[in-house]
């Protein structure tokens, strides 16, 4: 059988590099002066300037994690934390500068907006360059805007929620985020409003040796519902880039939020992102997550089930190839009666890639009648890759139903043989099995992403068989 050699996934569209042109790029490093400068450039209100400086103090006090992937190569003195692109925020696609527009065009963003989205935000480096939303939603009182506009126009709403769900002392990179955050999206869905077509924000980091620190704050008020999609990518450079975004989600009583992410950062990216949701009475929070890119990823979305009867579901897949260390997972805290969580996590590792599923389920004393079911499966496609499962199950009351199961292994030779006896090539048989393995996740993704994920699996597998 002929061997196919494809060392890296064909990232074609993701690797388009634009010239590193910017209106303003902060000097590298992290000092109070740099933070003051960012604050000034962003025309922050005084409370935000003080908040940033306080966060920097916290950052300096906190330790790097003593667990997980080695991130010692990250040198904050080599990272520019703020890069303002050569454009201003626009709500008309035509007004976005040509090279930036071309990038997003190739990523399919405006096309998706026309076909299947009710609003789009596009961030390029540290600033949002485009934001729009269907008029009928605006009339219903839905707010979808960039974070800077939200800080300016809805100060009370922002102050009440900004970094309250994810406090700055949560961990070192949250504190960093608090100090240098820029861009991101703000969504408010008023009581009872159902946003039936998704909103999407796309984050693109073009500038080398820089960081992206966007802040996403979503409030879905009582009885409202929303599907929000987040996409991320960057071209590959030889030096390290850093993504330390923060996502705060408030799902009020009886509300519903689905948060879908397709993360396809380049393989020089350290993705140290933090995502947390506070879920109210009888509300539901669903996470759908596909993690394909990054050199190192440490990402553990978290649901805090504070309201009685609150529910959450996490469906996620990680796909680690050569040189990648994807340490992903999920955390849930059951904080009230009859709360429930369902976790379905899958990972595939190949060509020396490492996937780790790391999680925590905590059922507190007051969570009588809580139910939690966790399932994780890992697939190894060769004998040079690594796959670890590190789940913590912390049960603090008796009236619970908790179960966790995990499996690890390779594609069964018998199954490959069966498919080959039906006339398939070994490559096609393996690709079909892997697609089948990923299907429970891909079926939860918006259709264009599911297609993209299947293409990624095909491309990746071409390099894996031989």
């Amino acid at each position: 059988m002929s061997k196919t050699k494809l060392e890296e996934i064909n990232r074609n569209i993701y690797d388009i590099k634009n010239k590193d042109e910017y209106d303003f790029k902060i000097k590298k490093g992290l000092t109070p002066e740099i933070i003051e400068e960012i604050s000034m450039q962003k025309k922050d209100p005084d409370w935000m300037r003080k908040f940033r400086l306080k966060a920097l103090e916290t950052y300096n006090k906190l330790e790097l994690p003593t667990w997980g992937p080695d991130i010692s190569e990250l040198d904050m003195n080599q990272i520019a934390t703020y890069v303002r692109p050569k454009t201003t925020l626009s709500n008309s696609w035509e007004d976005v500068p040509e090279d930036i527009k071309n990038t997003f065009d190739k990523l399919g963003i405006p096309e998706a907006e026309k076909r299947s989205l009710s609003g789009v935000g596009a961030q390029y480096d540290s600033e949002v360059v485009y934001h729009s939303m269907r008029e009928d939603l605006a009339k219903k009182g839905v707010i979808y805007t960039d974070m800077e506009t939200a800080v300016r126009d809805y100060p009370e709403l922002v102050k009440k929620h900004f970094m309250k769900c994810v406090p700055v002392n949560d961990h070192k990179f949250v504190a960093l985020h608090g100090a240098v955050w820029s861009g991101g999206s703000f969504v408010y869905v008023p009581k009872g409003v159902k946003v039936d077509i998704p909103l999407q924000s796309y984050f693109r980091l073009n500038s080398p040796e820089s960081g992206q620190f966007e802040h996403t704050l979503i409030i879905v008020d009582e009885g409202a519902s929303l599907h929000f999609i987040e996409g991320c990518s960057a071209p590959k450079y030889n030096k390290i880039n850093l993504h330390a975004g923060c996502v705060e989600l408030y799902v009020k009583d009886n509300a519903y939020l689905r948060y879908s992410t397709i993360e396809n950062w380049s393989k020089n990216m350290l993705n140290l992102n933090t995502k947390k949701a506070i879920v109210g009475k009888n509300a539901k929070m669903d996470w759908v997550s596909g993690s394909f890119g990054s050199k190192i990823s440490m990402l553990y979305p978290m649901s805090i089930l504070n309201g009685e009867g609150a529910k959450t579901e996490y469906t996620g897949i990680s796909f680690a190839g050569a040189g990648q260390n994807l340490d992903n997972g999920f955390k849930v805290v059951h904080n009230n009666k009859n709360t429930s969580s369902v976790v379905n996590a899958k990972s595939i590792s190949k060509n020396g890639g490492k996937c780790t599923y790391r999680s925590q389920v905590r059922i507190n004393e007051n969570a009588k009648g809580a139910k939690s079911s966790v399932s994780c499966e890992s697939l190894m496609l060769d004998d040079i890759s690594i796959s670890d499962t590190i789940p913590v199950n912390d049960i603090r009351t008796d009236d619970v139903e908790f179960s966790h199961e995990a499996k690890i292994g390779k594609i069964s030779d018998k199954t490959i043989f069966y498919l080959m006896s039906r006339g398939m090539s070994e490559e096609d048989a393996k690709a079909m099995i892997v697609r089948g393995f990923a299907y429970p996740i891909s079926k939860e993704l918006p259709v264009e992403y599911a297609v993209e994920m299947n293409n990624l699996i095909n491309l990746e597998l071409e390099g894996a068989i031989g």
């Binding site: 667990w67 908790f402 966790h404």
Partner: protein, 351 residues
């Protein structure tokens, strides 16, 4: 004091990477311990007391290792010759004159040998006792070793034990661990399945009451081809008892066709009991099968109701449910007398 580190760390705020014992301090002066009975095939015997020097891969921590190295008050070396079969029992009984036991047990099962050994620790008097022990087992080619480890220490004592096993070609080691207490009962268990076709089964039951704390750190590393590890842990916690279970199955590169299964289940009998589990699967080899499952919850209301409708009180029904759960594990004990003693202890602890 911080001890019993997991082989791989996870987030610090999950509070599971190690165990911190605030109210415990290690005794500096070790008093003699002589209340030990050794019996071979039912008859009292003397066993060699010169063990080899100790080097542990994991263990509970440096201080505990040093104490055994320097101050062990019991050293036992058991060597089973090639093709021989032995049945042994070692009883350590704590009392007013034997309050501290620091022991080093070394077992070498040579080629084709068979050994069954019961190691039992009892403290019936309500006196605070201290136990720090190390058990090392080396199972050579084709050896079969069954170890029944029974901890009946009282709920004001401290029990620390580190176990290390090394398995050679086709060797099998089975453990049945009955862990019924101690104010702190801390176990570090490590198996190195070094050579092809070796097999290690661990069946464990624990039963915690009052404010007892269990910290069980089980680690199995599979290196040989077609090696097999099975870990089955069944536990029950009542009152304010707390348990940490950390189980790691680590498939090392080269362990082709290896299998590892781990199942942990915790019955919570009161709403103040706490169970934390960290069942880890680490894998650097493609051609393996690894599974783990973990569950926790209270006794099924329906099942309780069914038993109570047959005339049992709630407490009796509860005891029956716990005994039923433990029975499967206790099947691996052939000694009926010991099995009954364990079941009686279950009843006693749940009274």
């Amino acid at each position: 004091m911080i001890l019993n580190e997991t082989p791989v760390r996870t987030a610090k705020n999950f509070n599971i990477n190690n165990i911190k014992l605030d109210s415990f301090s290690m005794p500096q002066k070790i008093e003699p311990f002589s209340n030990v009975i050794l019996s071979k095939n039912g008859k009292k015997v003397k066993i060699e007391e010169d063990t080899d020097s100790i080097n542990l891969v994991y263990g509970l921590g440096k201080d505990f290792l040093c104490q055994v190295k320097e101050n062990a008050n019991q050293k036992l070396k058991i060597t089973i010759d090639e093709n021989k079969k032995e049945d042994l029992q070692i009883d350590f009984e704590f009392n007013n004159k034997n309050k501290m036991l620091v022991e080093d047990i070394q077992i070498i099962a040579n080629k084709n040998s068979k050994l069954t050994v019961i190691i039992k620790y009892t403290s019936n008097e309500q006196i605070e006792n201290y136990h720090n022990g190390i058990i090392r087992v080396n199972a050579k080619e084709n050896a079969r070793v069954n170890i029944i480890f029974v901890n009946f220490m009282n709920d004001i004592s401290n029990n620390f034990i580190a176990i290390e096993n090394e398995l050679e070609q086709n060797a099998k080691i089975n453990y049945c661990i009955v862990d019924f207490g101690g104010k702190n009962s801390i176990t570090n268990y490590y198996s190195n399945l070094l050579k092809d076709n070796s097999e290690n089964k661990i069946n464990c039951i624990y039963l915690g009451k009052n404010n007892e704390l269990f910290d069980l750190n089980y680690i199995a590393e599979l290196r040989g081809k077609k090696t097999n590890v099975e870990i089955e842990v069944q536990g029950a916690l009542t009152d304010n008892a707390k348990k940490h279970f950390k189980g790691t199955i680590n498939f090392k590169k080269g362990a082709k066709k290896a299998k590892g299964n781990e199942n942990e289940n915790c019955m919570l009998l009161t709403d103040t009991a706490k169970s934390i589990a960290l069942p880890m699967l680490l894998c650097s080899e493609e051609d393996v099968e690894g599974n783990h499952s973990s569950s926790a919850g209270k006794v099924s209301e329906k099942e309780l109701f069914y038993i109570m409708s047959r005339g049992f009180t709630k407490k009796e029904a509860m005891k029956l449910m716990v005994r039923a759960r433990f029975n499967k594990i206790l099947e691996c004990i052939e000694n009926e007398e010991l099995k009954n003693e364990i079941l009686n202890k279950v009843d006693e602890r749940l009274d």
